[in-house]
């Protein structure tokens, strides 16, 4: 459906949201499994009579069969095509007339369907979502036209956005073997050949209770959710054999890479660098937490090292920043970006950033920086906990990539344990030049006004 926000964009949001998990003291999360294996998580939030209902399938673009790039995302679109009980657009119509909103998104690792609605209607959305977990009806007539919608989605969200194109090129250069190098939306040459049968096969292989997480956040109790979940999802069977995820290990990177994209729509240069980094779920010890802290210290906000150096002191960049994206199942990324000021050579900006990196790798961060960052991150958490949907996504992403609810709930306690030594160790391991892909977005001849640059918009494509 064109009206839905694509996972390609949401992934960017998640990149930042992952830094903001629940605080142990505030939330009484419940977790249980139905007999058919459906993993249920309940996150009470009684401030308003609203619920967010999400189903996370543990399958994404990185799990697609050879030659079927884009099938995970395409199936996400097709899940709105109706069942015998709720044909055509009945699902969306019922959600809408009951005052709810709904959406879906696809990442490399999971595919998520969610609704936000008044608490009395949780019964309704469970009825609808459980129905389409196994009763989706796909016909050539409702499948094939959707390929054009995907094509248009790619044009709008990627091809029309030079920084998205740069992100896609950086990601492709980053991964030589692991499927994260393949865009979530797929290679168009393969997408346009996808068939009804491909979608049915993927649906049958992966959409079943034992491969899903039901996450309900909002004004409900675990007891209420358990009763409703059992009523709607409890009767579903697992029809396909469970499959291990087949992911090629990325070989140890050995060469620094660079991607130079010239585009007529770009008015001024943009610089970006990604380093291959561990995923939170697979990082050793406190490495992932340390990278989050390090990203904050070196490049987040006007008191960060990069901002002070490049924007305030040297006045060579209008913006500079960093991210750590670790919510993928297998790998994450640590990134830098900057926009040079007018008439400043992009090479000078890169050099200045490298100087800051070299300095911090040599001398480490300070205890003061560490504490400021901890406090800021924890304070931001409070603010972001107000966002029921962001909270649900953070917990869902963690669980779907192999972390436990405990990992999430103890996040603030764990981040408080990060030391300057942890930060130095984690940063040194990641910020090796052979782990990096540097991307330059440059104006091509015939520039006709700048496109809006979204820093690192697509680096999070692997999330």
């Amino acid at each position: 459906m064109t009206a839905r926000i694509s996972g390609l964009i949401l992934a960017w949001f998640i990149t930042f949201a992952v830094a903001v998990p629940a605080r142990a003291l505030d939330i009484d999360v419940s977790e249980f499994k139905l007999e058919n294996g459906l993993h249920v998580i309940v996150v009470p939030d009684h401030r308003a009579p609203i619920v967010t209902h999400m189903v996370w399938y543990k399958v994404g673009a990185a799990d697609e069969p050879k030659g079927k790039a884009g099938i995970a995302h395409f199936l996400e679109h097709l899940m709105f095509k109706g069942t015998a009980k709720y044909p055509g657009g009945a699902f969306s119509h019922l959600v809408r007339i009951n005052g709810g909103s709904e959406n879906a998104f696809t990442t490399q690792d999971y595919t998520v369907y969610h609704q936000r609605i008044t608490k009395e209607r949780l019964d309704l959305v469970m009825e609808l979502e459980s129905d389409r977990m196994q009763n989706l009806i796909l016909t050539d007539a409702n499948v094939l036209p959707e390929l054009l919608v995907v094509l248009e989605e790619r044009r709008e969200r990627i091809d029309n956005n030079p920084s998205s194109l740069l992100g896609e090129q950086i990601t492709a250069a980053m991964y030589t073997a692991h499927p994260y190098g393949k865009p979530i939306i797929g290679w168009m040459s393969e997408v346009l050949k996808l068939t009804r049968q491909d979608a049915v096969d993927f649906y049958r292989a992966h959409y079943e209770p034992a491969n899903a997480i039901l996450l309900v956040t909002g004004d409900v109790t675990a007891t209420e959710v358990k009763a409703l979940a059992t009523k709607h999802y409890g009767g579903l069977k697992n029809l396909a054999a469970p499959k291990p995820r087949e992911r090629t290990a990325e070989p140890q990177p050995i060469a620094e890479r660079r991607v130079i994209l010239k585009d007529q729509r770009v008015a001024s240069p943009f610089w970006q660098r990604s380093y291959l980094a561990p995923a939170e779920a697979k990082a050793e010890g406190r490495d992932a937490l340390a990278l989050q802290v390090f990203a904050d210290i070196i490049g987040s906000g006007p008191r960060s090292r990069l901002y002070r150096k490049l924007v305030i002191e040297q006045k060579i960049a209008s913006q500079v920043g960093t991210w750590y994206s670790g919510d993928g199942l297998d790998y994450g990324s640590f990134g830098f970006y900057a926009s040079p000021n007018q008439d400043v050579d992009v090479a000078a900006v890169e050099e200045a950033i490298d100087a800051v990196i070299v300095e911090v790798l040599k001398n480490g961060v300070t205890q003061d920086e560490l504490e400021m960052t901890r406090n800021r991150v924890i304070a931001e958490t409070v603010y972001l906990l107000d966002n029921q949907e962001a909270l649900a996504r953070t917990i869902g992403a963690a669980i779907a990539t192999g972390q436990s609810v405990k990992d999430v709930l103890e996040w603030d306690r764990n981040i408080a344990r990060v030391t300057v030594q942890d930060v130095a160790k984690a940063a040194q391991a990641v910020l090796e030049e052979e782990n990096s892909v540097t991307g330059l977005l440059l104006p091509a001849g015939n520039a006709r006004g700048g496109a809006d640059l979204q820093p690192a918009a697509l680096d999070g494509v692997q999330n």
Copy 2:
């Protein structure tokens, strides 16, 4: 078998051999099919009582299933493990005691087994080769230890050779979607998980007469070959359904890429650039021939433009050269390489090469250069026709990638038709910076003597 020369190295040879097809007037090639679909090609060469017997299976590394990287090459190794009739090393033993030599190689597009032996023994090698087309016996005991042989092969041929590593990185950066970006030998994380069943499945799916080419060169007639081929191969059945090759189209390149590899074993820098180019079999009009001519004019030998400019005039490089590799099924590459003289910055060499490229793209090549090149290429053909094995490979590679015997036989006539306009058009289409990956091999700290650099050694990995 460790004693056999690997396809990874032979591919490099083929890169150059493909420029040297048969000349129409000298060779009376016969071509026919057996009833089971086996495509037979006979190339008489009566100068010595020797034959070269080759079986080309139209399957290679680019046809491997997801998660089974390296299975094509691994199966090539396993084809020497024996059958019920000729168990263990009987095949190789029989060839050897009959005075023959044998080998095999795997490319992205085909897998080839070949023997060179006295003409009286053609009967014997056909008996052996047809037997293992369908009767190979694989057991865990003979399969699993061979994985360590592949691992060692990778170490020897790639990991121990910095320029091979550079070539692998360039190829990985060149292809974002098409399987040519995957090394023929496979990703080690997948290779080490390959099983007996994987090998059996790949063998059953692809090794059969309708998917093979039998090529016999040497002191035989078509009539003799037909009789022997019918005797040995005629009774074989096609057991698997024919499968179309599943190859993702590479998206139109949009960004120049660079790969910088620093290695302690490198004493002095090496520079290389590959452009994505059309394959001969898929090039339009005379584009592939024109690229061959262009490669010769701009960078082959001491009278080429690059050599004169960089080595003789400017004295900044000790070697400089080009290649066009077009014998893949889907894509080829056009490449440049150079070794800077001592104390010359590699960037200066790149700049000088770029200046030559810009000049030739602007002003084209001359009629004189064109004629010198044509004459040299045709003269070299005569010399190389002496090499029965190279000739067989050239014809086999052409047929296996969809060209006809006629294309091969009329090569010298076709190359004589190439005009300066053809060269300009083909070169301009390929030498766009967004089609390119530039690789730098630089000494890392602690240099301890230089490894021998084989220019572009692995760029031909896709052949």
